[in-house]
Structure formats: C-alpha cells, structure tokens
Symmetry: C2
C-alpha cells in the first residue's frame, strides 16, 4: 500500500473503515498499532492518529492509551440524507425545474398546524400553496404556513418569483427542526398532481425553529414516481 | 461564557454551529479569530482549533491561513438517519417486539430483484417472507432475497428464531448500499398487514454489497400508522 506519495488521513480512514465493514478487522478485536499502519501506508504516525481519532469519534473504534484500539461491536449504522431542495433535486435528474404559486393568504393556522408549531389560536400565519414542476409535469405540491411573528419580512416577499423554500433558506435561518415521511391517498393534492385522489403518494412534513421561535410547517405531497433515496 | 471549567471542543463546536444557524455569524462573513474565541470560552486555542476544523470538514466554515475563517454561504444541509433496526424502533416506542417467519424458499430471484443486485439468471438466492409486530399488531411485512454465493452461512441459520435483519447485521458485513422510500397500495402485503390492498403504505427498498459482491435486497411494507422521522 506504501506508494509514491504519502496517503491523506482521509484515505487511510476510508481504507480502515472498509476493513471494519468487511471484517478484515473484526468486531471486538484489536487493530494493528499506529506505527504498523503508518509503515503500511508510508505516512507519518500523526496521519494515522488523525484517521483513527475520526473513526473513534464516529463510534467505530475504541481507543485505549495502553490497551490499543479495538473495533466496537455492532455500532448503530447511520445514513446521511441531503435535505431535499426541490430545484436541485429536479435539476440533478437533468429536468427543467418550474414553480407556480397557487394560493397566498394571511390568517390563523388550522388546529393541527397550530399544534405542530405550538402556536396560540390568534397567531397570524402566511399560508402558501405551491406546485413544483419537472419538465412541466407536476413533481410536488406544497402547503405551507409561515409564522409572521418570527419571519415578518416574508409578508413583503415576491413569492410568485422565488419559491418559499428558497426564500426561507436564504432569509430565515433555523437552529433545529424535523422531517417525517408517510404514505397517504393523494386526496386534495390530486388535482394539482394530476392523479386520482385515491392514488398513494409520499408525504413529507417538515418544521423548523429558530431557538424557541417557530418558523414554518410544510406538508409536501410528491408525485407517484418520486423516490426518496439514501446512501448507506 | 468563560466558566469554572474549560469547555470541550465539542461544546464550542455546537455553540459556533448555533451561531452560524441563527446568523450571529452571517454567511460569507469572517468569524472572530481563534484567540478571541479561546478567550471567550476560557480554553486553549488548540481546543478552538479542533472545533473549527470539525466545522470546516463538515462544510460550514472556510478556513484560510492568512485570511481568517469565513462562514460558507448556503451549505447543503444534511439530516442523519439511524438506519431503521426494526426491533429497536418498536421497543423505543415502549411496545413489545414480535417476529414471525412466514415463508422460506431457495431458488433464482425474480427478474426485478436480479436487476437490482445485478445477478445472473441462474444465481441461487434464499427467499424470506417475514412479519414484524408491535404489541402483537402488524408493523412491517418484509420480502427479502439473500445471495447464497455471498452469504452461504445463512442456509443453515435458524431464521424462525432470529430475524433475517439481525442475522445479517451480525454475520454479513457490508461495505455499501442504498435505501429508497416510496408510497404504493398495500397490494399483496395487505393480508399480512391487516389492511385493504388499496390502502397506501410506505415502502422501503434496501440493498447492500460487500465490495463487488451483492448481499441482499429487501422490500419492506410498513403499517399505515408508520412515520419515518428525521431530525434536522
């Protein structure tokens, strides 16, 4: 493995990760010491140390000063998901992205939305209905409520020109939030999506917060051909 | 912010992350230098350095030796998902987990499964049908194909006692794979799930590989009440 150029700590980390995954380094067992790994890769011990520290922080290795480094048994595997950004997603498939604002109104949110965002009954929200297109065909239908107290600037935004997601990503930073996926009949979203109300569609619900202040709750119905993909 | 005890690099990283998210440190702008942050937190510069390096590697900061550290504009936000482990998921909700093996057979896989795993027509697979229960009620119905060439030991496994997921997690390490979610009518899974064939359900497809060797492809239909949840 020792080559003409010193390996980066990332490439050493990735190789060790593959060896953990394919059990060249089995669960519960000691892996070679830093000096031996450094010799194998033809690099400095500090580089190996950086790679092992990263794997230890990610929960794959247990490092003990005297006892050496062991592979942790049965770590919880994680998958990472790029948070769907509708335009990027459509364009990444080589399709033209389109967007239409279908409705815009101001008023209190319905009870289920208030419960999600823990809003009082009188709280003013901006309600938006929008349709996102891929090569002119319906891709996603979105209903969204934005809390005006948290994001007053959206009242003046031209949301026929810029979609609410992109406006919020740029203008309304959030500290935390959550997403949920489930399946349901297209129902009231059927007309916009051009399918039957009984057709099953994937629904994403998303809400975000800026510290204690609720920002927005969105309910997105995806066209039937949509697949949510994650790498392992 | 300087307290009685020196802050850990992780707590400094988390505080800086919140400041990026709520735009105390705005996109494109320089953040305070290491020495100033170290003074604020009452810790060593090396600790701040470790925190900033982590945020730079995660794609939130751009560090330049002379020019200082800037917040990267519009980073792609990522969500992390614990890969669903059905027993843990059910038990985490305070419900009793149950499992039944419904069918087991050996033979070639159908064409769509062969295409997924890039298998030749003659490849022998183990086919498994299983039902996973929460407090005795159907929670998930799974159809799975395991490539016997890659995982010969599964032929002798007692899969009525240990569910295939748990057996594979323990015995069949993988290097990579993918997951996909979509909505469809329950169809042939309806009888096992105790719903109507036209009821919409969430379907997860998952496949894993050990380097070039295909391990398994699974198609899981979840009960209608199921929600896939991700933190932001």
């Amino acid at each position: 493995m020792a080559g003409d150029r010193a390996a980066s700590w990332q490439s050493i980390r990735d190789t060790i990760m593959l060896r953990i995954r394919d059990r060249t380094y089995p669960p519960g067992e000691l892996i070679p010491n830093e000096a031996d790994i450094a010799t194998e890769f033809g690099c400095a011990r500090a580089t190996v140390n950086r790679a092992l520290r990263d794997l230890a922080e990610a929960g794959f290795l247990d490092r003990r000063r005297k006892a050496g480094t062991r592979v942790i048994e049965a770590p919880q595997r994680k998958a990472t998901l790029d948070i769907p950004q509708i335009r990027r997603e459509v364009e990444a498939r080589g399709q033209a992205y389109g967007y239409r604002l279908l409705a815009r109104a101001t008023g209190p949110a319905p009870e289920d939305v208030r419960a999600r965002l823990r809003l009082p009954e009188v709280e003013e929200t901006l309600y938006l209905e929008s349709l996102h297109l891929a090569d002119g065909a319906p891709h996603m239908f979105e209903r969204r409520w934005v809390v005006l107290r948290t994001v007053p600037a959206i009242a003046a935004a031209d949301l026929a020109a810029v979609n609410p997601n992109e406006w919020l990503v740029r203008e309304a930073p959030y500290t935390h939030g959550g997403m949920e996926f489930h399946a349901e009949p297209a129902g009231a979203a059927a007309a916009a999506l051009g399918c039957s109300p009984t057709d099953p569609v994937l629904v994403m619900e998303r809400q975000t917060w800026l510290h204690e202040a609720p920002i927005t709750y969105a309910r997105e119905h995806f066209a039937q051909s949509y697949r949510l993909c994650l790498g392992l």
